[in-house]
Symmetry: C2
Subunit: 179 residues, 2 copies
DNA sequence: TGACACTATGCAACAATGTGCATATAATCA
DNA sequence: TGATTATATGCACATTGTTGCATAGTGTCA
């Protein structure tokens, strides 16, 4: 149940509405912990019940009212407590790798195309990460929180580079194997 | 619902019982698609209902009877059909990276320990992959299916090496940041 | 000889995640 | 002016994953 913690971590930055959080996830922490807006709203309800966030409705004319969630002291303590607990290895699930396991049965032409699509996705993630890095971090004076995010971001950039190289190697090896 | 397909892919190799499958998952395809024995048994029941596998009970004295599952023609067709369909990006979920996002709030001493544990886990996975490679693949004459598995395994080895380097860099950068 | 691990299967309950839908207004673009 | 996008929240259902339990005989180690 670490979506709760991921949300709390975001709220240590500043109070946010569910909508803000969903966008924040898409643009930053979601690179390492994806969540849809439905999940976020549901989890916010639970966090409110557990008194880890304080939710305040703000009237808006025209648009639906915003509900802004602020992390409580109890919530901050919960984050620190959680952070000290051991983590598990991230669960691995990649269909594309499973397909490599039955090269005789799968449609290898379609697979090569899927690998190309995957490569493009990694390319565009890479560009996005680099854009964020140069826009928000390069040449700036950073506080500790920002330094942590930068470390994560740089790991993300290296990961994308590695994956691009990896899948390109797979394509080459498939060619060598005659498919 | 790709656990179904992962199981079918295993069964293209040879007929197996649920127990065999659970072990096979632990030792090979599970590196890229983890599943517990409970999940596997449940999914096998569904596959039997959909007639993608044929299940045959084999009497054994002493031990409980084995139920051996064989992929059907319908199942083989299903695998090929599935293989041609586009895959999604694997979902990302790593608590350790989330912790990097709140360096001011988390227990950084505990975090460094967790990174060390993570490093050890990647080390032992790496050793296992290398052991499997040298034992079953190096210097052997391989058919197409085996070549595919070797490609996946080599990608796995590179991935572990990359992750070890990545987390070591994170530790260094944390030191530079003063935590 | 008692404890433990291995073989072999599976249910039940619960927790977490993902998909689809529903609502409602304002601004922007073609 | 009609279509789309952005703002803003949330329910219901389906699927997937985890934990704990239950059964039961065999082999191995101390």
């Amino acid at each position: 149940m670490a979506l709760a913690e991921a949300i709390l971590v975001c709220l240590t930055e500043r109070p946010m509405s569910g909508y803000d959080l969903a966008k924040y996830f898409d643009a930053s922490i979601g690179f390492f912990w994806r969540a849809s807006h439905q999940q976020i709203y549901r989890e916010l309800g639970r966090l409110r019940e557990r008194e880890l966030v304080d939710s305040q409705e703000i009237s808006q004319s025209g648009k639906p009212n915003r509900i802004v969630h602020t992390i409580t002291d109890k919530g901050r303590t919960a984050v620190t407590g959680w952070s000290a607990k051991p983590v598990r290895m991230p669960s691995v699930k990649d269909e594309l790798l499973v397909k490599l396991y039955a090269l005789e049965t799968v449609d290898t032409k379609a697979m090569r195309e899927q690998i190309s699509v995957r490569l493009e996705q990694h390319q565009s993630k890479l560009s996005e990460f680099r854009r964020i890095k140069s826009r928000f971090y390069d040449g700036k004076d950073l506080n500790l929180n920002q330094k942590g995010k930068l470390i994560a971001l740089e790991l993300g950039i290296d990961q994308e580079l590695f994956r691009i190289a990896g899948w390109e190697t797979v394509l080459k090896k498939m060619t060598d194997a005659g498919v």
